[in-house]
Assembly symmetry: C2
Homo-oligomer: 151 residues x 2
Amino acid sequence: MKKRMQTLAKKRLIDFLSDRKLRLTSQRDFILKHFLDTEGQLTAEELYELLKKRDETIGHATVYRTLRLFVNAGIARELHLGDGSVRYEADIEGIRKGYLVCSECGKRVEFSDDEMDSLGKRLSKEHGFSIDNRSVVFFGICPDCQQNGMR
Amino acid sequence: MKKRMQTLAKKRLIDFLSDRKLRLTSQRDFILKHFLDTEGQLTAEELYELLKKRDETIGHATVYRTLRLFVNAGIARELHLGDGSVRYEADIEGIRKGYLVCSECGKRVEFSDDEMDSLGKRLSKEHGFSIDNRSVVFFGICPDCQQNGMR
DNA sequence: ATGCCTGCAAAATCTTTGCAGTAGA
DNA sequence: TCTACTGCAAAGATTTTGCAGGCAT
């Protein structure tokens, strides 16, 4: 299943690239593979650091450029979870998620936000937008931080 | 009603400041007044430019620091609407909004996201978080951009 | 008077861009 | 071969921080 996701994503990337006469380079392949292997949500910087361990020669800009490419190809999703940086996660078809984020320690909990589908449809109809993405984030304080009384 | 909002926000600021032995300075008062006067959602930079017109001496950092203060005081809300910058809007009690954003031209449409309340409550119960804010954003292409076939 | 607050400028982040060489198709 | 792609470094953009003086309480 993990494997299947990898295959689908790669297929999607190849289709996207060949449609636009772009190229599947070893770097793009390498970044895709490790990006899909990660759990959770990474910043471009975090992914870069992670890749750097496996391949010293990978460039900073390449990671940024490739992540944007992945977003355009529908392979990655961009997230803003309130910590001031942009995070990316695999855009697995049919699986949309919402996030519950602790403002204190940054802890993230994912939840299914399927019930947003109908809201999306209604908004689309009401305002004539073609909707292709959404971001649902709740902010609060997690149980641990409440207990420790930090603040 | 506009007036009433101003009064409430100022009261809230004063309470927040005195609770923490912070001070109500002329700059904070000045920034609050003009921040509440603006419609829509501003970046710190936009607010700075706007304030600069009224008072040449206002400092860059002061605007950034004050907006963060407003967020902590519950007077302002921080928004990430996908254009890469942080935006702020007045946090008027009882009024929560969601946003529909055009990925092409940046056009923003606000909608009531009251139906998220129950989801928030459920998440709070399930995960033990105390939830105090949320961000609901839909991305898509607005009717105008669909017509002009930009992309 | 105390010490929080301000403006300035420099620093720190994070991200993008220009360029010369490299390598897919 | 042709031109997109890469790594590097520099530039950009946005936000934060250090500091000396100013001002609210």
